[in-house]
């Protein structure tokens, strides 16, 4: 369980990283390495060239943009957990970060790495999707803004183009009266979620988003359920319909589990 040989570059700036990424064959980015290193060791992901973006200072920047906050892709889960990184989600990001894997993983793993990896049950894709975040993506052609819903494609699959790097995320600040919930069920502490429900309910901004992860190949918005919650009507029927669409195969347990995490998350934001 040792990787095959690869070349390694450790650029100091994002521009250098983008340039390096374009100059080699099968290359991969490494930030915290918490997913990539096991894949390399198992030789499931053969790469000729690894670009280490773990020492790029600008990836750890945060900026207050008024109604939004920019958080650099290189911020670690532990930085959010410890309150070192800002949390425009009124505590949601901090709570989610604290529940990712184990502390040792959280000290290395990054928010950008988690999203770029796009594990179907990962925390950050679900949380950022619920927060309506926009990924700031840089490539040799310049910068583009990609909504989370457009960035996430499938299992370990994003709409990032070859040579592009997530620089960070713009996350809207929730109002003081906004309510959020994060309900995760996993087989044991530290394991990926079997089911993860995340809700952002910000009535003052007329925003309600409900996300389920673990059902289907990527974290998904449940717009009909969110609409029902927003106008205060029962959500059971819409949950059932939307889960049907996400998981056509019959798995009574998983189905019930997703219903449970969603109902509990809805209960939390409803104050029930």
């Amino acid at each position: 369980m040792k990787p095959s040989a690869f070349e390694y570059g450790c650029p100091a700036t994002l521009d250098d990283a983008i340039a390096l990424l374009g100059s080699h064959g099968e290359s991969a980015l490494i930030a915290g390495g918490q997913s990539l290193v096991p894949l390399l060791n198992l030789r499931l992901a053969p790469f000729d060239f690894i670009v280490d973006i773990g020492r790029i200072a600008e990836l750890r920047e945060t900026r207050d943009l008024g109604d939004r906050v920019f958080v650099g892709a290189g911020l670690t889960h532990a930085m959010f957990e410890d309150g070192v990184a800002p949390d425009p989600g009124n505590g949601l990001m901090r709570k989610a970060a604290a529940n990712i894997a184990y502390r040792a993983v959280r000290c290395h793993g990054t928010i950008g790495g988690s999203v770029a990896m796009a594990d179907p049950a990962a925390d950050w894709p679900a949380v950022l999707l619920a927060l309506g975040a926009v990924a700031i993506v840089r490539g040799s052609q310049g910068e583009r803004r990609v909504a989370m819903d457009d960035l996430l494609v499938g299992t370990y699959e994003t709409s990032l183009r070859p040579g592009e790097i997530i620089a960070g995320f713009e996350v809207f600040k929730l109002t003081a009266s906004a309510r959020t919930s994060y309900v995760k069920f996993n087989k044991k502490v530290g394991a990926f979620a079997t089911s993860l429900a995340v809700i952002v309910h910000d009535a003052a901004n007329a925003t309600t988003r409900i996300v389920i992860a673990g059902a289907g190949p990527r974290a998904s918005l449940l717009p009909a359920t969110a609409a029902a919650l927003a106008i205060g009507i029962g959500t059971d029927a819409s949950i059932a319909t939307e889960l049907d669409a996400l998981m056509p195969e019959t798995d009574a347990y998983l189905r019930h589990l997703h219903q449970t995490t969603l109902s509990r998350a809805i209960g939390e934001v409803s104050g029930a």
Binding site: M1, R43, F185, K187, F192, H256, L257, T260, T261
Partner: protein
């Protein structure tokens, strides 16, 4: 003669901090991967991708001479007979590298060496293996159907051995008013020692011997196996086990990779090593558990258990491992089914079955976690059927103190103890009435609470009688110790057991300190090197404190007597009137320090009494006065919270009342109990290697293999009782395995208790959230169907 545990010094029963912890805490221990030798190269194995197939060709990459090896490169390697010495036990020849056939995913086919492990893996990727796939046998019960494919063509069916274990009067069961049939399954898992397996081997030209650094539980026995496999005399093999980071049984078998590494070392002329990685460990190291039970329990109208009948299937995997295979699983599972209860009759058909999975080996508790799970679940099912407290049903059936020694229907002689007291204590610790009040006060939508019990026994310190009854190829009936007092009076003790976390450097020093009236800091315990230690079998089967403790104690006692005689001579006193105390020989008129006596005995022989042999160096062996074993026992009581919607189980309280006889170091006993329970919780709730229909294992990394960690393991509350054993030194009994035996049963009973209203039955481990949810759905559905 047994030593008096309460004489001066008080070292027996003292919770001394462990001597070995300083180096572990400082990161200065030496495990196999820490062994660095000039010219060392790494080995990577090419492993089978398929579960069952005939090898048609293995093609080495170009220019890989002396870097890639297959079984064809070792024509003189011997294949060891393994399993019990019974004609009825079918042989399953297990070559060091696959020849002709592969029989499980992960079986080693070729070995590649290079200057680093990564380069060795590069080389391994270039080896081309072609196989003709054969039908796969994945289910132990289906494997016994007449139409099943067979692993070994010359066997009549897939059973290594099939035996019926029958005892007692079966006619008692005929008209039993209570008769319940249940199926139980304890799924397959790995042993998951923190340190994986590992070997470093090289030929020492000066000594003309093969030096093998091996992560093992017993170097002497492994040397015997290696000598036979390699065709070398034993005096040309030296096995060194440095710090061993856990074994749990898995390192008490000789595995093919270990033989292959040694064979390569003999060929290449420089040191080679193989460090098993975690994927290899989960894929191809010793697998364990995997018991299936189909049992009928009978009881009279008062709930007195009458008999247990049925079938036990052990899914033993593709090969028997040297020396003893996994044959003991079936006999011990059947033999422990009556538990500590007055069961009158037992009739169990056992099948030890070959399947296309990694070979099964021992794991902490060996067979008894499965047997305990089955009998303790059955007890609760009878109680549920009768509508009485499971605690109460146990009270009606448990052997009493007055009945001791009690021979169970299966022939196990429970020697000493008060099993009722252990049950009562555990019940009081978790407070059954308080749990019942909480259950009654539960509001709809709140999690459910349940309390569960499991009573266990732990046979330990068993010797010749028990192991020869089992037809064991190696009969670990004794242990030895070499005790030396050096000229300066310090003491060096070599033992044949192997510490792999048990704290031998501390407990054995406490015993020696007790016998020699010295401080444990003056005594060093050494083990783990066949070149320096007397022969011993190693550490397994909860045997070390009984056997090695006894060997150290009795040998030190003999040495102390010689010291006393020399001291009397120095003091010009009648030997009748001197005794040893605080490192001195003391008479009414004066004293002489051990260091003076040791100096004389070792380098100033002219000062010794006339005719006395010089030196203070004694070797002794020890076996207990009776070798059928002494039984530790206890009751585990656990309170769980179950989330009906998710199936998630959370442990709220875990209490243990146990008795392992005299405790040498109670803190270490607590550690053994707590550690065993951590693994028992793993078996009960988390750990599992499922296989698909093609025989592919589905948990080969920690992403899929759920290993309980600190967050999953509660701090266990432990109460000790001490009923000294009658046939061992100091009254000790073993304690290494007990913690791991009862948790699956206690947890399943607690979860079942939480769902008494719908009579849901939880009969398969691990109790994953999905299994818990499924069991409740099933019970609710049959409730609806009945109403």
């Amino acid at each position: 003669m047994s030593g008096d545990a309460h004489s001066s010094g008080g070292w027996i029963g003292a919770s001394l901090l462990r001597k070995e912890d300083a180096r572990h805490l400082a990161g200065k221990a030496m495990f196999i991967a820490d062994v660095r030798l000039p010219g060392l190269q790494d080995i990577a194995f090419v492993r089978s991708q398929i579960a069952h197939g005939r090898i048609t060709s293995v093609t080495k990459p170009a220019n890989s001479q002396n870097r890639v090896f297959t079984i064809a490169d070792f024509p003189s390697l011997n294949v060891l007979e393994a399993g019990p010495e019974l004609d009825a036990f079918r042989q399953s020849p297990y070559p060091a590298l696959a020849s002709e056939k592969v029989r499980y995913v992960g079986q080693a086919i070729a070995a590649c060496i290079a200057t680093t492990r990564a380069r060795a893996e590069d080389l391994a990727e270039l080896v081309e293996v072609e196989c003709t796939e054969l039908p796969v046998v994945v289910d132990a019960i289906d494997a016994m159907s007449p139409g099943s494919a067979r692993l070994f063509e010359n066997w009549a069916d897939n059973a290594y051995i099939a035996r019926t274990i029958s005892a007692g009067d079966m006619s008692l069961l005929k008209n039993a008013p209570i008769r319940l049939r249940r199926r139980f399954r304890m799924n397959r898992q790995a042993t998951v020692s923190l340190e994986t397996r590992g070997v470093v081997a090289y030929w020492d030209a000066r000594l003309e011997e093969l030096v093998v650094h091996l992560s093992t539980q017993g170097g002497h026995v492994m040397r015997l196996g290696l000598a036979r496999a390699l065709g070398l005399p034993e005096n040309q093999i030296r096995v060194i086990a440095p710090d061993v980071g856990g074994g749990f049984g898995g390192k008490n078998r000789l595995l093919p990779e270990e033989i292959a590494v040694c064979a390569i070392a003999l060929k290449v002329g420089h040191p080679v090593r193989w460090i098993e990685d975690r994927r290899e460990h989960l894929l191809a190291s010793v697998h364990c558990r995997d018991h299936h039970y189909d049992l009928t329990v009978t009881a009279d109208g008062e709930g007195r258990l009458l008999g247990i009948e049925g079938d036990v299937y052990i899914d033993a995997g593709a090969y028997a491992l040297w020396p003893t295979g996994s044959f003991m699983e079936a006999s011990m599972a059947a033999g422990n089914l009556p538990g500590p209860y007055r069961v009158k009759a037992l009739c169990v058909n056992t099948f030890t079955v070959a399947t296309n999975k990694a070979p099964m080996g021992p794991y902490r508790g060996v067979a008894r976690p499965g047997a305990c799970f089955a009998i303790e679940r059955l007890v609760d099912e009878v109680a549920l059927h009768m509508g009485i407290e499971p605690y109460e049903l146990r009270k009606r059936n448990l052997v009493t103190r007055e009945e001791m020694p009690y021979v169970t229907v299966a022939g196990l002689k429970l020697d000493t103890g008060d099993y009722h007291d252990a049950l009562d204590t555990a019940a009081a610790m978790v407070d059954i009435p308080a749990v019942r009040r909480r259950q009654a006060a539960r509001k709809a939508g709140e999690p459910r609470i349940g309390v569960g019990f499991a009573v266990y026994t732990e046979q330990s310190g068993h010797g010749v009688v028990e192991w020869s009854k089992r037809k064991s190829r190696v009969v670990p009936g004794y242990e030895s110790a070499n005790v030396r007092m050096l000229p300066d009076g310090s003491v060096l003790i070599h033992v044949g057991v192997q510490n792999h976390g048990q704290g031998h450097e501390t407990t054995l020093a406490q015993i020696a300190a007790h016998e020699l009236s010295l401080d444990p800091s003056q005594i060093k315990i050494r083990y783990g090197d066949t070149a320096t230690t007397p022969f011993g079998f190693g550490t397994f089967a909860s045997r070390s404190i009984v056997f090695a403790g006894g060997a150290v104690g009795t040998t030190c006692r003999r040495l102390a007597e010689k010291i006393r005689l020399i001291g009397a001579h120095f003091l010009q006193a009648d030997p009748k009137n001197v005794h040893i105390e605080d490192g001195q020989v003391v008479s009414q008129n004066g004293s002489v320090a051990f260091c003076e006596i040791a100096l004389a005995a070792n380098i100033r022989q002219e000062m010794l009494p006339q005719g006395m042999d010089p030196s203070l160096d004694m070797t002794g062996t020890y076996e207990p006065a009776e070798s059928a074993g002494v039984f530790s026992y206890g009751t585990h009581a656990v309170v769980v919270e179950v989330d009906e919607s998710t199936g998630g189980v959370k442990i709220l309280d875990y209490a243990v009342s146990e008795d392992c006889g005299t405790m040498i170091n109670p803190m270490i006993v607590d550690g053994q109990v707590q550690g065993g329970i951590a693994q028992g919780i793993g078996t009960g709730l988390y750990e599992e290697i499922p296989f698909n229909a093609d025989g592919q294992p589905l948990a080969t990394t920690f992403a899929d293999y759920m290993m309980p960690c600190a967050t999953e393991i509660p701090t266990v509350r432990i109460t000790h009782s001490v009923t000294p054993a009658k046939v061992t030194e100091y009254g000790v009994k073993g304690v290494g395995e007990g913690g791991a035996i009862a948790p699956p049963a206690a947890l399943a009973n607690a979860v079942a208790d939480a769902f008494r209203d719908c009579k849901a039955s939880f009969n398969e481990t691990p109790l994953t959230p999905r299994r818990v949810w499924d069991a409740v759905q099933l019970a609710r559905a049959s409730e609806r169907a009945a109403s």
